[in-house]
Amino acid sequence: GCGSSDDDKTSAPKSETLTVYAAASLTGVFTDLGKKFEADHPGVKVTFSFGGSSDLVTQIQQGAPADVFASADTKNMDKLTADGLQGDAPENFASNTLEIVTPPDNPAKIDSLDDLAKKGVALVICAPEVPCGSAAQKVEEGAKLTFKPVSEEQSVKDVLAKVTSGEADAGLVYVTDVKAAGDAVNGVTFPEAASAVNTYPIATLKDSKHAALAKAFVELVLGTVGQEALAGAGFAKP
């Protein structure tokens, strides 16, 4: 961005588009925040590209036209900063912890983390390679338990889907996922969750053609409006 025409402070309501790349787990909250942002900035349209954090990073590395990137973990944000693609330094804006999820009728009678290791429980967790899986592994090791999952999924949503469909008796997902799923599931909190907190960082991007707008969006997320919305969706403070 060698001094491109991104001076958006001009009050002339010309149409501009801000592009936000955000982790899939932020879909609900960020869509709402986007609407809010558009209301605050007439003539600006916010579009989102939601996806797995690592997909998004790869795309940005290959030149995707992103102005803001919000990751579901620090590892993926680190890849970006390693390439020097961030604008301002990343800031953590939310965190998430694990919660046990079961079908509404809780057929396997799961009350605690220990119950997940019971024989005959169809347990589904994330694979250790993805963020929610490494969190699950930490919890498992911390509690000195040995899980025998029937499946190690690629993403939290895949875990949730197995539980909502009644296929699995229990799963380990994020608090926010349990909240978003509403009546479709039953959540069981457990104290050991505190040992594995997942942090969400956000940053503007170096090549952004709307640097000022991007900054404004990051500020919105970090500000009270953003934090309230995130809390409403179940996210904790970073």
Binding site: T19, Y21, A24, S25, T27, G28, T31, T47, F48, S49, F50, G51, D55, T58, Q59, Q61, Q62, G63, A64, P65, K157, A161, T164, A180, A184
Partner: protein
Amino acid sequence: MGRTRTVGLPGWLYVPALVGAVFVLLPLVAIITKVDWANFGTLITSESSKDALLLSLRTSAATTVLCVLLGVPMALVLARTTFPGQNVLRSLVLLPLVLPPVVGGLALLYTFGRKGLLGHALEVMDIRIAFSTMAVVLAQTFVALPFLVVSLEGALRTAGQRYEVVAAGLGAGPTTVFRRVTLPLVLPGLLAGMVLSFARALGEFGATITFAGSLQGVTRTLPLEIYLQREVDPDAAVALALLLVVVAVVVIALARPDRREP
């Protein structure tokens, strides 16, 4: 009217045929039972759904055209010429079929992306392909092209060259033979190939999200929208999936040629 007689099929054959049909149809029925009919209308007429549907139809149509332009010559070269390494080439052309679409999308990124093989050349020409609607078309073409090539090559081989040879003997040059004999004779095969590639393009997800991203109105096709809606509103996702199915059935039924025995 006098009717040419068909030889009957062995009766036992209907059993596995029925099992197969049920196996394919039951899941579709299952989807339909999950649809929230009360809100079906509002779910599929939201701004983002309409954008996604239109984008899907536009890009799939463009993909089909591109597949015909590139695939027909490829099928002809594979079916009508012989050259060393032809079999290897044919296998390679089939590869997008076997590549998980996400890997295909990655491969496209490595090719057309900023840091890709052609990245520098494209940058010099000031062409940005990735993350544009063009990228969606390229991703869909990459996965759909083998369908057209394979089905058309098969049709060309089965049709044989007897009529082409006769036409050449009557003085027709290669272009005339191609236009007036080859193409009309394999038209059913070509149409079948077009339907297949259109269908494959319409359902394409993995390569698109990886190579083109998911921007509403620009790169977010119907399958991507379905995926996204699943995060926030599973009912909407199911409704959209049904919409996709209906669109596909309509297109396939419209395109189906009146296939009579030759």
